[in-house]
Symmetry: none
Subunit: 426 residues, 2 copies
């Protein structure tokens, strides 16, 4: 079944409001296995709306409308769609009573509200439990149109209570999907690794790059839930086999969530010492509910003096290797591990830009160190040609992934491992 969403309202075309209805309905339809192949927004204009409805009716089996059911003169969705579907609107006494009752304690019904009580003769009305405008359904054999209010909470209520049931009957079958969250390879590198798995028709998989990581969505459709789940699981397993521990979560997004949950389970604690990331790492960890189980203390030591005073970084190390060095990152990690009485210390120092780079260590050079006991893992990153915020975000991604890997006993790719007093520069 091919579906199409049509949002009616000049306020959307002016950018005054965000079209959250389209996202909500798209997601709900995807979950029902109904393919949305167009979303449109159109203003309160009869001629343009009629033209759009005619086109949409040709190419789609199901049209879902939001908006334009209200009492004012520019609310014309119902009248226009009725015309295109060759249906007629008649006054529904029951709806009229409801509307009159609603306005009774509000000083009487303004006359223009009567038109909200008009319902299709051949089609049917859909009850609105939290507003005065009922939804309506038009049908003409090959195509079904469902009209809902534009106010998001009214629309959702109507969808939940009535429309979803109607659509389930129309669609039949079940659909399930999973998100795999991957850190390490970028979107195109990942596509080269799993390109062949992205090509099937059912189950399907797709990549979504965002926030310095990539998500893989695996969706399957079946005659019932059981069958859909079996199909999905088979494809998910192929991704697991291919990607292994690059998949950091099959549930919620965010390396910080995984770190908080792994350390909570292990009853271990983490402390952070940040220079160029300026508190972003602490902020990400503490954004997770329950972070206080694993996190007591973070230091943002921007100045070299603060690195010495708070974390005990050795002036000699700064002088010899500069503040942007593996040695200083490691000393920051051990220093904060001690100060915070933690099991893990993280030290991050580097050049977020836009200034401060040198030829040998350009903007985007960041050292990330994670200490645990008397050992430390250090990565040198080169987040080049990137803006400040991306350098910062990417640095925290690596720090969190390193903690995850060390805590779980996984290998830490691209990191070097040293004893406390044996850190080498690289």
């Amino acid at each position: 079944m091919k579906a199409e969403l049509i949002s009616v309202g000049t306020e959307l075309l002016l950018g005054d409001i965000l079209n959250t209805n389209a996202q909500y309905l798209s997601k709900e339809l995807a979950a029902l296995g109904i393919t949305v192949h167009h979303q449109c927004v159109i203003g309160d204009n009869t001629a343009r709306l009629a033209k759009l409805v005619e086109e949409a009716k040709q190419r789609s089996d199901l049209l879902l409308f939001t908006g334009g059911l209200g009492p004012t003169a520019d609310d014309l969705t119902k009248e226009t769609v009725a015309q295109v579907f060759g249906d007629e609107l008649v006054l529904d006494p029951e709806e009229l009573d409801k509307i009159k009752m609603y306005f009774e304690c509000r000083g009487g019904m303004p006359h223009n509200n009567e038109k909200q009580a008009m319902v299709p003769k051949r089609g049917k009305k859909i009850p609105n439990s939290c507003g005065t405008a009922p939804g309506v359904l038009f049908e003409d054999g090959s195509c079904t149109a469902i009209l809902m209010p534009g106010v998001p909470h009214e629309m959702r209520e109507m969808f939940e209570r009535s429309v979803r049931g109607i659509l389930m009957q129309m669609a039949g079958g079940a659909i399930v999907s999973t998100m795999l969250h991957v850190f390490g390879p970028g979107e195109s590198a990942l596509e080269e690794m799993v390109g062949d798995l992205l090509e099937g028709g059912n189950p399907t998989a797709a990549l979504y790059a965002k926030n310095c990581e990539v998500a893989v969505r695996v969706t399957a459709r079946g005659e019932d839930e059981q069958q859909a789940e079996t199909l999905r699981e088979a494809l998910v397993q192929k991704f697991r086999d291919r990607l292994g521990d690059l998949i950091y979560s099959e549930e919620a997004e965010g390396l910080e969530r995984v770190v908080v949950s792994v350390l909570t389970r292990q009853r271990r604690r983490l402390a952070t010492a940040e220079s160029c990331t300026g508190g972003l790492l602490a902020q990400r960890i503490t954004s997770v509910d329950g972070a206080s189980e694993v996190f007591d203390f973070g230091a943002v030591t921007y100045a070299a003096a603060a690195k010495r005073r708070i974390l005990g970084v050795k002036p000699a190390a700064i002088k010899k290797y500069s503040v942007y060095s593996a040695t200083v990152a490691a000393q920051m990690a051990f220093g904060v591990q001690k100060q915070g009485k933690a099991d893990f210390g993280v030290g991050i120092t580097g050049i977020a830009g836009p200034t401060g780079g040198t030829e040998e260590k350009p903007v985007g050079t960041v050292y990330v160190a994670v200490s645990c006991g008397h050992e430390v893992w250090v990565k040198r990153l080169s987040v080049e040609h990137s803006e400040r915020s991306r350098v910062r975000r990417m640095s925290t991604q690596h720090a969190l992934d390193m903690v995850r890997r060390i805590a779980l006993g996984l290998p830490v790719p691209d990191a070097r491992r040293f004893g406390r007093h044996a850190v080498e520069e690289f």
Copy 2:
């Protein structure tokens, strides 16, 4: 000029992401006096996209595309639009070099990235300052198509830097606009204060609520820039008269920017001690280029023990007033002011939720203290009925606004002022 927005991406049709690009562009075009009469979303499917572009080209003078410029096989906007506009794509050596450089330190360019360097032969390319995919422009006499990336920050950057200028030339005349950034009243309170100033036709003003503050955009159109600027300035002055120091900036957004620039000018320094905001304040300050001029040290003291050890908060105060108190916030501020050898100390402690609230101090109760010399200003916030992230964001907003006001000698509304040893609970 009639315009139409076309967003390309299956992730929009699946409801995985919200189409914020459509709202942003609609608003920007409205400000330029360009009428948007259609917004469409379509999947990564050549045939359907081509059909849509053909229809859109018939009915509109300007088509703005977002999405589908990336390296993967399903990124096909550029190829499809080129075909409909009868243009040809050729490899641009300059863009290819940029992309190769970007991938140099990432282990080499995956082959599929080459297609991002293809640009129109007859049309032109539009530089992308924060991504690898350039934008492109196609023209065929009656219609212009502009293709931008789908990633919101890349798209906005490209729009600000290049596309707005192109559209202004197309629209004719001159348009100037200013953003006034306001912190304090919420959107509806602000609307009550300045509602009458939002009604004119030219110049126009509109409110944009976001991130716990409100921006006012004042736009004027004139035959030339001079005339437009005179009109704009007259309306801006009315907002200044009405809002006074609630306007924290007429330039860049972000209280952190104002704080960094004011303190840099005054050669004063700031240190931060955060509990419930978990590093967000330090992160916001250090996100500003040049933050090292004013910021050396921030502490994220999540545990009571860390508050004592690092900041010298008195156990007796915690016992008597709890960690969520004016006294503890003030001691955190003075403690970090001393530790960081700074002129200002900020202490934030409170309950970000979702758990930890009590009847007397529910979730959303936050104490923000700013010390300066031997004095301290303390605010008690009640960010009620809010999620964790909003409580955190709002707390940092107040902290930054307090620092701005104290540094500039402005009154600090809703704050109480105490001597170092005379803090009272409230």
